[in-house]
């Protein structure tokens, strides 16, 4: 018999102040027992010894690692699978290291749900598709997201001489074109030439066609030099992922931080009590609801 523990997406909570320093982050988690007999499959409460007939509860907030370790101890006969979304795994490693060590040492770890991961590193932006299961991550490229990373660093690779006003202008233009679909009030749009300036802030401009009329985005710096800006989103990336990633990068997240997104570009998150499978079947298997 296998005990399967599914962690909710983004379900980690900071420990309550009253918990004291020994308690790690709390987590929403769901446990299910998988037997060889599907009719006996049910969820179990991690707080109590599993009684398959009446274990109808769904999501629990478990103080880590104590309750989880107790759960393992109560079921030494079972093999335990832990399904973790990538974002929760990331958080768990960082915020609940003892729990993480417990999981790693005593269970078979599954990473559930493929997802995109954007990580800012010292070397640059790393963009990966992390498939479900144990398959290795797939690297992706997006010139637009690299541009967003450069803006977060405060320097454009194509125009190293760009000052703060030019960087702010490029960020506003990308935001208008890819996110808001509206011009911010501080942007002036020059309809004669097809380009943008910041009202009253320097002479930098972003044009929608090059000096020879070729389409594309070009930045013109205060000293008159012009450089092309590659804003191609990346052929194989869903537009929702690109938009969410750009939104994150324009907020200048610190180096080392990562963003996890599903294919629709939304951060993976399951609200504890709004799982659509809950309504129809109180004993829905988490393996089905999770994938």
């Amino acid at each position: 018999m296998t005990l399967r523990i599914v962690f909710a997406h983004g379900g980690l909570e900071a420990p309550a102040r009253a918990d004291g320093p020994g308690i790690e982050a709390r987590a929403w988690l769901r446990a299910a027992v998988h037997s060889e007999h599907p009719e006996r499959e049910a969820r179990v409460s991690p707080r109590e010894p599993p009684r398959l007939a009446d274990a109808m509860a769904t999501w629990h907030c478990v103080a880590l690692p104590g309750e989880l370790v107790a759960l393992f101890d109560r079921h030494p006969e079972r093999s335990i699978d832990v399904a973790l979304p990538g974002a929760v795994r990331e958080e768990l490693e960082r915020r609940a290291p003892r729990t993480w060590a417990s999981l790693f040492g005593r269970t078979r770890l599954l990473e559930r749900d493929g997802g995109y991961c954007l990580r800012r590193t010292e070397q640059g932006l790393v963009l990966q598709w992390r498939p479900a299961g144990d398959a290795p991550p797939v690297e992706h490229t997006s010139a637009l997201l690299q541009l967003g990373d450069q803006l977060a660093r405060g320097a454009l690779a194509a125009a190293p001489g760009a000052g703060q006003a030019a960087l702010a202008l490029v960020a506003k233009v990308l935001e208008a074109r890819w996110l808001a679909r509206r011009l911010a009030p501080e942007l002036f749009f020059d309809a004669r030439r097809g380009g943008y300036r910041l009202r009253g802030k320097g002479s930098a401009a972003v044009w929608e066609r090059g000096p020879d009329g070729a389409p594309g985005l070009f930045v013109e710096l205060e000293d008159g030099t012009t450089a092309p800006l590659d804003e191609s989103p990346g052929a194989e990336l869903p537009l929702g992922v690109v938009r969410a990633g750009l939104h994150w990068l324009l907020g200048a997240p610190p180096v080392g931080q990562a963003l996890y997104l599903d294919s629709a570009g939304t951060p993976p998150r399951e609200a504890p009590h709004t799982d659509p499978t809950e309504a129809s079947s109180p004993i829905a298997a988490p393996t089905r609801s999770g994938n």
Binding site: A176, R177, W178, A180, R181, R182, L183, A184, P185, E186, F188, F189, D190, A191, R192, R193, G194, Y196, R199, G200, E208, P215, E231, L239
Partner: protein, 316 residues
């Protein structure tokens, strides 16, 4: 109804001045952008409303007031929604409503007007025929601009309002500065400037409270003003008594009005709307803020008349 709509008027030099940019939504509601610098806060974020149509009022960036064709298309761009994927735009329709005179085809279509996010704008010109005689008082220019056919009395009242409350160079200033031999008060230099300021203060009493007023002009003498009923409306009688004892008179026929309140709201400018009475007189029907007035006009299909020049053909 998704095309942006920009209201403008041509100034004396034929340059457009943007009065309002309107973002029209699929449900027929409009967000009014008093000018391009007053725009783009999402309507849901700002509960303030302009006028009785619950038009969202938008944020202010402090940019200079927009004039000219570049400013007009900047307003268009701000009232527009960009393509969902940049670089995929084609010809994008835009409605331009001109109060009063319309621009020439060459001005409008002589050069391509590029649209943000790709493509070009295809302007369609509509012109507004106000339902009643109306004068717009431009707070920036400090002038009254006729939007419809105004009688002399209506024009006098509009110009006097612009002069009294908005600092326009109107009939009183012209009279005070005109030479005595041509019926003016013959004031010059600093004396003239002081007299104009004093006259405005006195006129605010006369027009705002409907009674006589006096302004001491120091070395330049004294200015008396009085408002009287007469056939067709009111008469404003002004008398300038110089320090030397000479007296010059000015009589201005005005359309009927109920005491004009001092406009306080910082809007694009009030519009004086006159109505014609069966007696043949005309009377000031109401003073409205320009923005609700424009929204009202633009929301009423009968108020808009398609111009002879519909602009270039649009992509299907």
């Amino acid at each position: 109804m998704s095309a942006p709509l920009v209201c403008a008027a041509l100034d004396a030099a034929g340059e457009p001045r943007v009065l309002a940019a309107l973002r029209r939504r699929a449900d027929g509601r409009v967000a009014v952008l008093l000018d391009p610098v007053l725009l783009t806060a999402p309507p849901a974020d700002d509960g303030a409303a302009v006028g009785r149509r619950s038009v969202p009022r938008l944020a202010h960036t402090g940019a200079p007031p927009p004039r000219g064709w570049e400013a007009l298309f900047d307003g268009v761009a701000h009232a527009d929604n960009l393509p969902s994927r940049p670089g995929t735009g084609a010809l994008r329709p835009v409605d331009l409503v001109f109060l009063g005179a319309s621009p020439s085809t060459e001005d409008l279509h002589g050069a391509p007007w590029y649209a943000p996010g790709g493509g070009r704008y295809a302007p369609r010109v509509l012109s507004v025929r106000p339902p009643l005689a109306a004068a717009w008082i431009d707070r920036e220019l400090g002038a009254a601009v006729a939007l419809g056919e105004l009688t002399e009395r209506e024009r006098n009242l509009a110009e006097l309002t612009a002069e009294t409350w908005h600092g326009a160079p109107g009939p009183i200033a012209r009279w005070l500065g005109a030479p005595v031999e041509r019926g003016g008060a013959g004031l010059e230099g600093a004396g003239l400037a002081t007299a104009i300021e004093a006259a405005r203060a006195a006129l605010q009493e006369v027009l705002g409270q409907g009674r006589s007023g006096t302004a001491k002009l120091g070395d330049a003498g004294q200015l008396d003003g009085a408002l009287t009923h007469e056939a067709g409306g009111f008469a404003l009688d002004l008398a300038h008594r110089s320090a030397a004892g000479g007296t010059q008179l000015l009589r201005l026929g005005l359309a009927r009005f109920v005491a004009l309140p001092a406009p306080t709201a910082e809007t694009a400018g009030p519009v004086l709307v006159f109505e014609r009475l069966p007696s043949g007189e005309s009377a000031l029907a109401r003073i409205v803020e320009l923005s609700p007035y424009l929204v009202e006009l633009c929301a009423a299909p009968d108020a808009l008349r398609a111009d002879a020049d519909p602009g270039p053909e649009l992509d299907p």
